[in-house]
Symmetry: C2
DNA sequence: TACAAGCGTTAGAGCTTCTAACTAAAGCTT
DNA sequence: AAGCTTTAGTTAGAAGCTCTAACGCTTGTA
């Protein structure tokens, strides 16, 4: 709006930028409001005009990361294309996002920060990323409707998410894509592959191809 | 050995016990050497006779967790049984271990603690858990030896791990089991399923059955 | 009995988060 | 333009943290 507010936004952004640097080199515990303030040329307490407390700053970082990831995933599947193509694009985009900024990925999917309760704002982001995942789903000709608890829950979730005419089976596919991609990415960004000497990228690609094959089979 | 050393071990254990409580309720950042000492009835600096610093305490927790998980996984597959049975037993044991003490699972597979470099001791634990996973692997009649970079790396890893006559394909299966189980468990313990209303246990079971089916197909 | 090792203490430096009270500047209203 | 309110910064300080230094006391051993 006015100059006041714009300047305010700017200061918040700078603080977050520095916080991200600290996050990258020392983890969440390395983020210090005091140190950030000092680096910005003001005293410690000044920053508390911009963030209620340390947790609020962390929450802001999480929100940003969530939106950023959702943007990335959404962008990867906007072009209309075959399911297999969408799948590969989405997977690559997701992994790329994660490994270029592991600390941010871990902010979302690593150890939860204790004080954090997901604000409503992130719901939209979560929805967007899930929609991106569901763009990779294939047909479900049999319109499968097995009467299992899982499928009932998936159905309810689908309605809540307004996923249109996606069947539980298709929603289950979406979740599976999500868990499998995350499984490899998560172990990669936490460095669990390093001892094995196996290249995580190859494992990831194999997993993606397995999903593609499974998707084409139905 | 002597009484001195036994007493020492006892104090270390009590400190770790309290640290685990703090971990459970406030995350890794909530672990305070000072507070632990106070709860043990001694002054803060006294504990530094038992742990060089806070990081050393955390490392001890990680080591314990690693060994404990390895024990659990190993125990799940000791009984000779069909691959499918082994698979289900291993998966259940792993998930059970994780969800009954999420903070410990996250200590191993969540955001890495910055100062931590895996000591040699944990190598053995890692080896044991991987061996447990590999106990679920089926035959590889074709003795597949596709000449890919991935298979070459897997081969080298297999030799380093002394996995006997397991083929790269079988080792790849092992890694896939690992990443897929972790994918679901990780998202469950970080609470990512809660918003969906879908029961993680059902998703997990479905994933396990998918692995079993895939394993029986070869 | 003498000596060394181990375990606890207090004191304190230097960091942290965050509150309280005060000052200076900017913007809005009359 | 004068005056009031909002905002942004300051210093002071409480309460906590990690960790070092220096000092006693209590064991275990030679």
């Amino acid at each position: 709006m006015d100059r006041r507010q714009r300047y305010r936004e700017q200061t918040r952004d700078e603080a977050k930028r520095i916080a991200l640097e600290q996050l990258a080199e020392a983890g969440p515990g390395g983020i210090s409001v005091n140190a950030i303030a000092k680096r910005m040329g003001v005293t410690g307490p000044a920053l508390y005009r911009y963030f209620a407390n340390r947790d609020a700053l962390l929450t802001a970082l999480i929100e940003d990361a969530y939106n950023d990831l959702a943007d990335t995933m959404q962008a990867a599947v906007t072009h209309r294309a075959a399911n297999a193509t969408q799948m590969r694009a989405l997977a690559t985009a997701m992994r790329e996002w994660a490994i270029t900024q592991p600390h941010r990925y871990l902010l979302l999917f690593g150890t939860p920060v204790p004080g954090y309760e997901a604000p409503i704002e992130t719901l939209a982001a979560a929805h967007r990323s899930m929609t991106a995942v569901l763009a990779t789903v294939g047909e479900d000709p049999e319109h499968a409707n097995r009467r299992s608890t899982l499928y009932r829950q998936l159905g309810a979730w689908g309605e809540k998410m307004q996923t249109g005419d996606l069947t539980p089976k298709q929603l289950h596919w979406g979740i599976t894509v999500w868990t499998r991609l995350h499984g490899v990415i998560s172990l990669e960004v936490t460095g669990q592959f390093t001892l094995t000497g196996v290249d995580p990228e190859l494992v990831f690609k194999a997993e993606v191809e397995s999903l593609v094959a499974w998707g084409e089979r139905g």
